[in-house]
């Protein structure tokens, strides 16, 4: 009985050995991925295969240094030691059965240095020369010892979803999307993410994801809670007129598109500050408001020529000035023009203020300047179309590509200047903006009325 059992065991062992011997050859020609790649025999390291499952753009692969590069294709089977490289706009995704997936992103190169299974232990090591690799381990009942190693850092992974980026001239960074990974850089190891946790990112050289998170912190100005009451009211007014609010992360300022400028009759009631400088325009163009302040006694600084102590511009961190000046948003215009404002709440410096309109893009347009101090219009001084230096509480002119419109004003208003400089022959105030400022079609658009297209 015992001999019969032992014979059966020997027979079954032979069958198993034959199947194992045949497996690599079968895998080499397979186009479908097996569910379990390696032998489950304990204490015998078995090399694992790598299956290319997605190729996007220019991707090449080879099975070792001595092999020539070949164009990578879906269902391609590679072995331990394989190397992959990608071009611009490209990526390649590979699977190491049963539970590991990695993606090499654009312009990177990675080598699968180790990929073997020893019993229940799976060891994988990806050597990334440069680029960005995303690595996902589902940890399906196996014990993983996996890592992505780059020239300057190592990311050790155990059953998690991570990404390592290492590409000069940038600081290497590790991201954990789920679970915890260990990120080593310059002999310093930090944890990235937590068990069952969510997104965490660590930059090399930091104390971990907490310090990186603080460094990356920004308050998105689109959220009402991050806006001041004055800015919220202004943006709400723009939205009520059909504008769309967005955020320009490069300029670092909320942007307003569409809508229309305030009419003359509406403007005074919408002003938020004790000092408000307003640029409005009616054409399909993008203008930017610029404000310069020469702080001091207006009559003194007027004689000593204009020197800008403070400057306000919508974006690039220049939307706030030291004395409290603020531009809440960048209006990028639309078919019915736009409006930008700079304002001070509470105290504002006395001095000579310069207000400017910069033409960014679009069609030539009419524009209007207004300055209000404590709700009262302030006289502005500028050169009219005849080249005469004149004054008006509302300046209207036209602007086209490459041009810049400007005026100056004394704050507080100086009766001396007002008496010295003549009124603008075009009127003081100049004609401003009202419903009649737009052509009928544009006016209909401004009012939200669709006009039938001409037949």
């Amino acid at each position: 009985m015992r001999s019969l059992n032992s014979n059966r065991q020997i027979f079954l062992g032979l069958i198993c050995t034959m199947l194992c011997a045949a497996a690599p050859a079968m895998a080499g020609s397979a186009t479908t991925m097996p569910t379990a790649e390696a032998s489950s025999q304990p204490n015998s390291a078995v090399s694992m295969h790598i299956y290319v499952v997605a190729v996007n753009g220019l991707v090449q692969a080879r099975d070792g240094d001595s092999q020539p590069w070949a164009v990578a294709q879906t269902n391609m089977v590679l072995s331990e030691g394989a190397e992959l490289r990608t071009g611009p706009h490209s990526s390649v995704t590979c699977v190491i059965p049963p539970d590991q997936t990695f993606t090499l992103d654009r312009l990177g190169t990675v080598r699968v240095a180790d990929a073997f299974r020893n019993g229940n232990m799976v060891k994988t090591d990806l050597l990334m020369k440069y680029g960005r690799t995303h690595y996902d381990i589902q940890s399906a009942g196996l014990q993983h010892e996996a890592s992505i190693t780059s020239p300057s850092s190592t990311l050790a992974v155990r059953g998690t979803t991570v990404s390592l980026f290492d590409q000069p001239p940038y600081v290497p960074s590790a991201i954990s999307f789920t679970g915890r990974a260990r990120f080593t850089y310059n002999h310093n190891t930090v944890s990235v993410g937590t068990k069952h946790g969510s997104y965490a990112k660590a930059l090399a050289g930091t104390d971990g994801s907490a310090q990186t998170g603080v460094g990356d912190t920004v308050v998105d100005p689109r959220y009402a809670a991050s806006l001041t009451a004055a800015d919220s009211a202004l943006i709400a007014t723009e939205v009520a007129r059909g504008a769309v609010i967005s955020y320009n992360p490069i300029l670092g300022i909320p942007t307003v598109a569409g809508g229309r400028p305030s009419y003359d009759s509406e403007l005074p009631s919408t002003l938020p500050g004790t000092l408000d400088l307003v640029l409005r325009w009616t054409g399909d163009a993008d203008l930017n408001l610029e404000v310069g302040v020469d702080i001091g006694n207006p009559q003194v600084v007027f004689l000593s020529q204009f020197v800008s102590n403070e400057f306000l511009y919508p974006g690039n961190g220049q939307q706030n000035s030291a004395s409290g000046g603020h531009i809440p948003y960048d209006d990028i215009g639309g078919p019915t023009g736009g409006e930008e404002i700079a304002y001070w709440l509470g105290n504002h410096p006395q001095g000579l203020y310069g207000i400017g309109a910069q033409f960014i893009s679009g069609q030539p347009t009419s524009y209007t300047f207004n300055i209000y101090e404590y709700g009262k219009p302030v006289e502005m001084f500028y050169f009219d179309s005849n080249g005469d230096f004149v004054k008006s509480t509302q300046m209207t002119s036209t602007l086209s590509s490459g041009q810049f419109g400007s005026a100056i004003a004394a704050i507080p208003d100086q009766a001396y200047f007002d008496g010295l400089i003549p009124n603008d022959p075009a009127g003081n105030p100049n004609p401003g903006i009202g419903p009649g400022s737009f052509t009928p079609a544009v006016r209909a658009l401004a009012m939200g009325i669709k006009t039938p297209s001409p037949k």
Binding site: W69, G87, P88, H89, L107, G131, R132, T161, Y170, K201
Partner: protein, 187 residues
């Protein structure tokens, strides 16, 4: 105690030393780096092997030459570079408005970050700040804009790029221009 004469000698001696140092720097140290052979000469084709060979060979070079940088830009923008020579490459980029018409640097000279920054600013249609609006994308402010956008590390316009840095910059531009896959979108 030092006499007036010795103090004067020390001061003028320092000035003389500074002048001598400046002359040495001017005569030796401020020359633009050049490369002996460009990667473009080795991988000038448009097939996958040539393109990937170009990018990954360039990543191993210490300096990126004008020829390599412009070939890389054309490959990145168009997916191919049909120029047969460096002059044609320059003309192709000039026709796209990415290089100034007055550009005349030799092929094997190291590309400057300023030259590349102006091309990137135009490629990405970066509006920039008020200085760029007024004066256009000059090298100085284009570099500043690149630094602000995180495409360049803190740099000066006269610096150059190593090969791997150039590849990294192109990758960063790719990230900005392409819809990044969901798994890496958070970067």
């Amino acid at each position: 105690m030092l006499s007036k004469q010795s103090i004067s000698r020390i001061r003028f001696g320092n000035v003389g030393l500074a002048l001598a140092s400046a002359l040495i720097v001017l005569s030796l140290g401020c020359q633009t780096a050049v490369v002996k052979s460009t990667v473009t000469n080795k991988f000038s084709g448009n097939d996958t092997n040539a393109q990937l060979g170009f990018w990954h060979e360039l990543a191993d070079r210490h300096v990126t030459s004008n020829d390599d940088a412009f070939h890389g830009l054309l490959l990145y923008i168009d997916g191919h570079d049909d120029s047969a020579s460096y002059n044609q490459r320059v003309a192709a980029l000039q026709s796209k408005g990415l290089l100034p018409a007055s550009f005349s640097c030799p092929a094997n000279e190291a590309v400057t970050r300023g030259t590349l920054a102006v091309a990137i600013v135009k490629l990405l249609d970066v509006k920039g700040g008020w200085v760029m609006h007024v004066f256009g994308p000059t090298q100085r402010y284009a570099v500043k804009e690149m630094i602000y956008m995180g495409i360049y590390p803190p740099s000066s316009p006269q610096q150059t790029f190593s090969g791997t840095e150039f590849v990294g910059v192109i990758g960063k531009i790719d990230d900005l221009q392409q819809p990044v896959s969901a798994d890496t979108s958070s970067q």
